[in-house]
Amino acid sequence: MTGFGSFALRRLVGAVVTLFAISVIIYVVFYATPGNVAQITCGPRCSPAQVHQVAQQLRLDDPLWSRYWHFLEGIVVGQDYSTGTSVAHCSAPCLGLSYQTGQQVTQIILTKLPVSLSLVAGAMVIWLVLGVGTGVLSAWRRGRPTERALTAVTLAGLSTPVFVIGLVLMIVVCGQLQLLPFPQYVALTDDPEQWAWNLLLPWLSLALVEAAVFTRLTRASMLETLAEDHIRTFRAYGVGERSIVGRHALRGALAPVIALNANDVGSAVGGAVLTETLFGLPGIGQELVHAVSVVDLPVVVGMVLVIGFCVVIANAVADVLYAVADRRVVLV
């Protein structure tokens, strides 16, 4: 137990260090680049006076480390923004202010977050069930027609980018067959049924690609476990194939699947950006693409930071889960 506690603690400390390092890298990349940082931050349409103000806000005359410290301080304790005429207070956690819209980045993220969460969480359920299920089936029916069919489908899934699957689904289901209306986001709290119906296609687009990845991994890791010595032991004692596959092989194959799922969060977020843009879902991804296209730097940086943080934390949690699932850690 103590071994596990200290592992979890160490992993947590590791995650904090990583978060810190990510913030440094992001700060350096975006705020210490050659070129007129104030102009880029403020946006292309800012007047020289506004640019000057932004330069002061960012303390561009100070040395780099002190600027970074100021940036961190802003995140942790909040910061006041003077826009020339008025002073806006941005309370902690403050990720900055969009000079183009005057909105606080934290606010933008908070309003968009439920959409993205709905999308990713729902899709994750689908891809895990679908991916692990077909993976197990494919390992079990090795060498039979079922496996060959699944293999072909998996290959197709792996070879189709999210936005192509999404496009095709949208055109076929909503356009040609008119089975569903073009998706429009409805909040879960407003109408759960409509929420699910409208998210169905985005979920499927995001989940199908990921599911293919999981099918492949689950199959591989099942087959690897099935080749292990202890499986031979149970065969040599007359234990039935159903129990061997369903109980022993699946248990052994689970750990890598958990690990991959964690590592896949980053990839899923990327897929979510595409899905949101394609289906016009007002989530973080769509907002990010918009901010990138109009070069709204504070929004871009804030979102990158938040997404990076989420991924790091998801990874840390998964590592701990993995340790629980792994044979070497004595816990369960």
């Binding site: 292990e228 010595d229 202890h230 031979r232 032991t233 149970f234 065969r235 040599a236 004692y237 007359g238 234990v239 039935g240 129990s243 022993h248 248990r251 052994g252 044979r327 070497r328 004595v330």
Partner: protein, 530 residues
């Protein structure tokens, strides 16, 4: 009806014929050992008794009857009943043979329930009972442990318990002690013996180790190339072998009670000296000393044997002696001069003939390494020298351009020796150089090392777990336990009149080749334990 009746069994994999027309019988309650070197097909026979080749693509011919069931013609359901219920198998590597994710008691209970219609609860109780039976202390609590929480010996006991749980008529043990230390091996063999006496089940033991067979069975079948070479009562086969191969095999088995045939000519020069060596691993709480305060000297022309069980620190010591590993404390002197890091004058021969040669380079290139590293550029001279070395170790000069996979284990070990010799060393540290080899190959490699020593005045440090092999090659012996040398002295003294109780214990555990001696020693061990 015999318990096992094998008639004209053949098993083929692809173009390879692993078993070729083998016939034998085992009566109820009898014990038979299949003895053979690697590739003799002995394990394949064991698998065939349980029909484990079914569905793997292997071609099986002939007939196998186990307690009246025709294994090849049995339905899947009959086969399932046979497996475990009639005949239970104990595998070689007890760690990988158990599911790492489930408690040992649950695994035994699961197997038990395959053959007995009982409740989960009753099956668990049965698991505890058999675990207790095989000598797991505090079985009720330990039944809830998972395999990695058990020691190697305890895992092997647990596997035997799993077999017992189904009350089989036949126990098939496939190299059941190969992964274990010699003292633990003795315990497991004693356990098998006791269980057999008590339950009256038959035993089919598969082993490469003639000593293990002598300890455990009534009858021996010597196998080679998938065929029976000799078959008879254990005393006759081991005492008065008729077949030439059996004689060769027995002749190659190192004896723990025979001194070194040709003693080394120890000079006065101390070529290798270690003082107060200590090596720690890990950090924080996990810090431990693998080697602790070890001092030794090696003179020109002599062999120092270092013997110890797994985890005794002997390999770590060996690597420090050649400079591959830096000591935490203490110093190594080569030819009287303190030395850190590697030194071409002190070479090593490694254990694993697979990983010790780069699979992507020809053996000639590997042997030429020390020459090139020394700055030799003349290709003709390099080739000439390598050719010479290859021939010296009993290979052909023309093998220069061959790759490691084209050689057998023993040949690769010869290549490793040639590579060490290329550096013109004064000392060669051999780390378990023969433990991965069959006994006949083993004897050849040991003989080669002895010849080279005499010819070149080499000092050898021979690190091994096998007490008999160490005696066979050493002039002096150091016994290691938990990082320390517990006893050191001339080989004959250490083996004939050990002073340390641990040395005594080790020697008592070495299997004897004579079945009667084995029985006497078993009784002695029992008395020692009681």
């Amino acid at each position: 009806m015999s318990l096992v009746e094998v008639t004209g069994l053949t098993v083929g994999f692809g173009s390879l014929k692993a078993v070729d027309g083998l016939s034998f019988r085992l009566e109820r309650g009898g014990a038979l050992a299949l003895v053979g070197e690697s590739g003799s097909g002995k394990s394949t026979v064991a698998s065939a008794l349980l029909g484990l080749h079914r569905g793997t693509g292997a071609r099986v011919g002939g007939s196998v009857l186990v307690a009246g069931t025709d294994v090849e013609r049995a339905t899947d359901e009959e086969l399932r009943r046979l497996r475990g219920g009639t005949a239970a198998m104990v595998f070689q590597d007890p760690l990988s043979a158990l599911d790492p994710y489930y408690a040992i008691g649950d695994q035994i209970a699961e197997v038990h329930r395959v053959h007995h219609r009982v409740s989960r609860r009753a099956a668990r109780a049965r698991a505890v009972e058999v675990l207790d039976r095989v000598g797991i202390p505090d079985a009720r609590r330990r039944a809830r442990s998972r395999p990695h929480e058990f020691s190697g010996g305890m895992r092997q006991r647990a596997l035997i318990a799993m077999a017992l749980a189904c009350e089989p008529q036949l126990l098939i043990a496939d190299e059941p002690t190969t992964a274990l230390d010699v003292t633990v091996q003795a315990q497991i063999l004693d356990l098998l013996h006791t269980l057999r006496e008590e339950t009256g089940m038959g035993l089919l033991l598969v082993t490469h180790d003639v000593g293990v067979a002598a300890e455990s069975v009534d009858e021996v079948l010597v196998m080679r190339h998938g065929r029976a070479v000799e078959h008879g009562p254990v005393g006759t086969v081991l005492g008065a072998p008729r077949a030439a191969y059996t004689r060769e095999l027995l002749g190659a088995v190192p004896r723990v009670d025979a001194p070194r045939a040709v003693p080394g000519q120890a000079g006065d020069e101390i070529v290798l000296e270690a003082t107060g060596l200590r090596r720690e691993f890990g950090r924080g709480k996990r810090r431990f000393a693998a080697v602790d305060d070890v001092s030794l000297t090696v003179r020109r022309g002599e062999t120092l044997g270092i013997v110890g069980e797994s985890g005794s620190g002997k390999t770590t010591l060996g690597r420090m002696l050649v400079g591959l590993l830096a000591p935490t404390q203490g110093a190594v002197r080569h030819d009287g001069r303190p030395h850190t890091g590697v030194n071409p004058a002190v070479q090593m021969v490694f254990q694993d003939p697979v990983s010790s040669l780069n699979p992507r380079r020809s053996v000639g290139e590997s042997i030429a390494d020390p020459l090139r590293a020394r700055g030799e550029r003349d290709e003709a001279r390099i080739r000439g020298r390598v050719r010479e070395l290859l021939e010296r170790v009993g290979l052909e000069g023309a093998h220069y351009d061959r790759y490691p996979h084209e050689f057998s284990g023993g040949q690769r070990q010869r290549v490793g020796i040639a590579r060490a010799l290329a550096a013109d060393p004064r000392v060669i540290v051999c780390d378990e150089p023969v433990s991965a080899l069959d006994v006949t190959t083993q004897a050849q490699v040991v003989a080669l090392l002895g010849e080279l020593q005499r010819e070149l005045g080499l000092a050898l440090v021979f690190v091994a777990h096998d007490l008999a092999v160490v005696r066979q090659v050493s002039d002096r012996v150091a016994v290691m336990r938990r990082g320390r040398i517990v006893e050191e002295g001339p080989a004959d003294e250490v083996y004939e009149s050990p002073k340390d109780p641990y040395t005594e214990q080790l020697l008592a555990a070495v299997p004897a080749l004579d079945p009667q001696a084995a029985a006497r020693r078993r009784t002695a061990r029992r008395e020692l334990a009681a």
